[in-house]
């Protein structure tokens, strides 16, 4: 797998899950906070990722810039 998610940078917004064209970014855990905000713990599924590179294709694809090429 050529791409990873930096868990320290990830803001758990879940945007990448809906934006990945291959559906390769999947939710491992969902937590709803007291104020109603839902946070998603996500990972890249190596079996689905095609290394297309869309997820790092421009600076703000991930608002936290948490996805990087290994």
């Amino acid at each position: 797998m050529a791409y990873k998610i930096d868990v320290k940078k990830c803001l758990k917004c879940g945007l990448c899950v809906t934006d990945c064209p291959e559906g390769a970014i999947v939710v491992d855990d969902t937590v709803t906070e007291d104020d109603g905000l839902t946070l998603y713990t996500v990972r890249i599924d190596p079996d689905k990722c095609t290394d297309c590179g869309v997820c790092v294709s421009h600076e703000w694809w991930c608002p936290a810039q948490a996805i990087y090429k290994v």
Partner: protein, 169 residues
Amino acid sequence: MDNTKYGKYIFEYDSKMFPKERRPVMAYMDNNLAKGSNFYLIHWIMPGFGMQKEWDFKFAGHPPHIHKDAELLFHIGTDPDNPMDLGAEVQMYLGPEMEEHRITRTCCIWIPPNFIHSPWKPISCHRPWIFMEFNQGPVHTEKSYRQILPREAREKMDWSMWPDEGYLR
């Protein structure tokens, strides 16, 4: 509505159209109002608007968020003798790191698509000025990133004022 052929292209507004807004909105346009138009929102900022404590966003200030399309935030001063002076000070935070900026001059802030920006807060104002929000897309979209705010700030907010728009998740 007049009887002319092209009068339909002239839009006038009633401030009561914007009950959710906390400032006098002067003009608004999007693809729903005029097919083919991008999103535009133009309003005044008056002295006294948004002067609040550091983390009290309740009646002013816009929490961290992104848009699907690029956004341009024009801050336009109105002093005929010194038009580049905003006549106000606005606090603006940029990026997931919440880098702080102070706006005191006429300017435009360019917000790329998906770029986290705000809180945006007027912290002083001694002359009315004009604020223009242009999105380079047909309708307004917004997704909150309030998780980057300190816990005490999040607890002070009424989050029903800031719903997400146009995002699936």
